[in-house]
């Protein structure tokens, strides 16, 4: 069954869409990742214009993180003060990202920029995930292997404008969290992702936040930045497709529930290797599209349409 997407102005197969939403939902339920970094490139592959895929992907991020952030707020595992600082950075980053996104669209280079950012970031995350899961696998076989120190004093602790973050037990400068927020906001606007994959490691390793507040605080920031970015895309380039979003969200929420059940039963470490390989495969596919001689070197763009 084909469905007509009113903003993308093209038809796509409804089951393919539900499959993309559901499949990524299962993965996100299993591994506790947002999945935006898989949904957007998969949408390119099925023929959704990149501008629509990015703006709609970021709308889907709101849906996939809202129930998580509510649960964490109830359990009081959100550092609201840190979350707010990250959020302010995120909003600034989102505005910068949207400006850059619209500039590139005018110059006819948007598809390239989106594809390049995906190759770079999927490559980095995939490689890190693979390394991390291989290390975990080795550790489970050899429990005496040296562990990594979680909290170290580094250059971050010598910057000005220090602020007390009671929930995290930190007294650090607001500059690093603001900058981290800006970076995540830019990625949200250009790539249509939540940015948890950058935010979580930055919070743990760079800011030294305790793990019990990391997930809740990152979800808090991601939800609001994604909501703001959705609004910015809707206001500046009209590329949010509600019809597309509904199918992705429906597939995603059902998939996430199934994924959570599967994740409870299976050994996560081996599966994490598979997820890492999947991320690298998507990265490789986009990279090949950029590297190999295309069958058609010409393309058409219509001003004011996607």
């Amino acid at each position: 069954m084909q469905i007509y997407l009113p903003i993308a102005e093209t038809s796509v197969n409804a089951f393919t869409l539900l499959g993309v939403g559901g499949g990524v939902g299962v993965l996100s339920g299993m591994f506790g990742v947002g999945g935006g970094f898989l949904i957007t490139p998969l949408l390119f592959f099925i023929g959704v214009p990149p501008a629509v895929a990015v703006a709609t992907g970021v709308n889907q991020v709101v849906a996939s993180s809202i129930s998580g952030v509510l649960a964490h707020l109830k359990r009081k595992t959100v550092d609201l003060r840190m979350g707010t600082v990250l959020l302010i950075g995120g909003l600034v980053g989102s505005i910068i990202g949207i400006w850059f996104f619209n500039l590139m669209q005018r110059l006819g280079q948007l598809d390239l920029i989106v594809q390049l950012s995906y190759v770079i970031f999927l490559g980095i995350i995939g490689a890190l995930m693979l390394q991390e899961s291989l290390r975990a696998l080795r550790r489970s076989k050899n429990p005496h292997a040296p562990r990594r120190k979680l909290h170290t004093h580094n250059w971050v602790h010598n910057l000005p404008w220090k602020m007390k973050f009671r929930a995290s037990g930190l007294y650090i400068s607001v500059v690093p969290p603001l900058l981290v927020g800006v970076g995540v906001g830019i990625l949200a606007a250009i790539m249509g992702v939540g940015g948890g994959f950058i935010l979580v490691p930055a919070m743990i390793y760079l800011l030294g936040m305790p793990t019990k507040v990391v997930i809740g605080t990152s979800l808090f920031q991601v939800t609001f930045v994604a909501a703001f970015t959705t609004m910015m895309h809707a206001l500046t380039n009209y590329s949010v497709d509600v019809m597309l979003a509904i199918f992705l969200i429906l597939g995603g929420v059902i998939g996430a529930q199934i994924g959570t059940r599967i994740g409870l039963r299976l050994k996560a470490e081996q599966l994490r290797i598979l997820l890492a390989l999947l991320v690298l495969a998507v990265c490789g596919k986009i990279a090949l599209d950029l590297l190999l001689t295309p069958s058609e070197v010409y393309s058409i763009s219509i001003p004011g349409r996607f």
Binding site: L112, L235, I246, E296, V297, Y298, S299, I300, I302
Partner: protein, 253 residues
């Protein structure tokens, strides 16, 4: 059905003023609605030739049918390898290119249409596209050819040689398939009557392609009231995201 059509056509014939040969045309549908499950549609174009004088026997009668979607400006990009990756490097603007163009005839176009008649009436696909004046006209042709090639691949441009059936030099019909990826707007169907490569008579009729009610409403809202549209998108995300997990919690407990 065919009898009724014929009857109506003959009725129409008798109402027209006298001329040597004249074309009368009908369409199977004047409206196409782009609904949620739109997968393309087939339009039947049929008609008759009205004639006062006896049928000339020194030349053959030919019919050409074109259907043209709303013309739009376009930018055609060409990629080149830069630092190892393929990047859009050069572009050529087109002042107006039909978003859809199908041309069908009783025989291949080159056999039945003279170059002058083509220039006057802009019948062939190449002439339906209005190029912008570029700095390099020889290269501009490559860009326009690419536009035609890409859109032919998407079934947006169709050259349907010899698909118009003409019976007893009077009745004709042809079918044109509108693909799933057409844009909305007024589509113009033109029917040309030709002898010896020259256009004797032409007729025009229109097809209204519209998004269906819900799609139309969403599209208008996205462009006319983007703030409201954005808030609606967020409300849906919150509703489904939170609602679904609440529902699953409820089911589990």
């Amino acid at each position: 059905m065919r009898g009724v059509v014929l009857f109506i056509l003959l009725g129409m014939l008798s109402l027209l003023p006298a001329r040597a040969e004249e074309v009368i045309v009908g369409l199977s549908q004047n409206r196409v609605s782009l609904t949620v499950n739109y997968e393309g549609s087939e339009i039947l174009i049929f008609g008759a030739v009205r004639r006062e004088a006896p049928l000339p026997d020194d030349s053959d009668l030919d019919i050409i049918v074109t259907i043209e979607g709303p013309p739009m400006p376009a930018v055609i990009w060409r990629k080149a390898r830069r630092l190892g990756i393929w990047v859009n490097t050069e572009s050529q603007e087109v002042r107006a290119a039909p978003s859809f163009y199908a041309v069908a005839g009783t025989a291949p176009l080159s056999d039945i249409l003279s170059a002058e008649a083509d220039l006057t009436h802009r019948i062939s696909t190449r002439l339906a596209i209005f190029e912008a004046r570029g700095p390099d006209p020889r290269d501009a042709a490559a860009f326009t050819e690419a536009l035609i090639r890409i859109r032919q691949g998407e079934q947006l441009y169709q050259e349907l040689d010899s698909t118009v059936a003409l019976q007893r030099d009077t009745l004709f019909n042809t079918r044109v398939t509108l693909p799933k990826n057409i844009v909305e707007g007024t589509y113009t169907a033109r029917i040309f009557l030709l002898r010896d490569g020259e256009v004797l008579n032409e007729a025009e009729t229109f097809i209204d392609v519209q998004k269906a009610v819900l799609e139309r409403w969403l599209y208008n809202m996205a462009y006319d009231r983007p703030a409201l549209y954005g808030l609606m998108a967020l409300a849906l995300a919150v509703f489904f995201g939170w609602g679904a997990s609440a529902l699953f919690r409820f089911v589990r407990s």
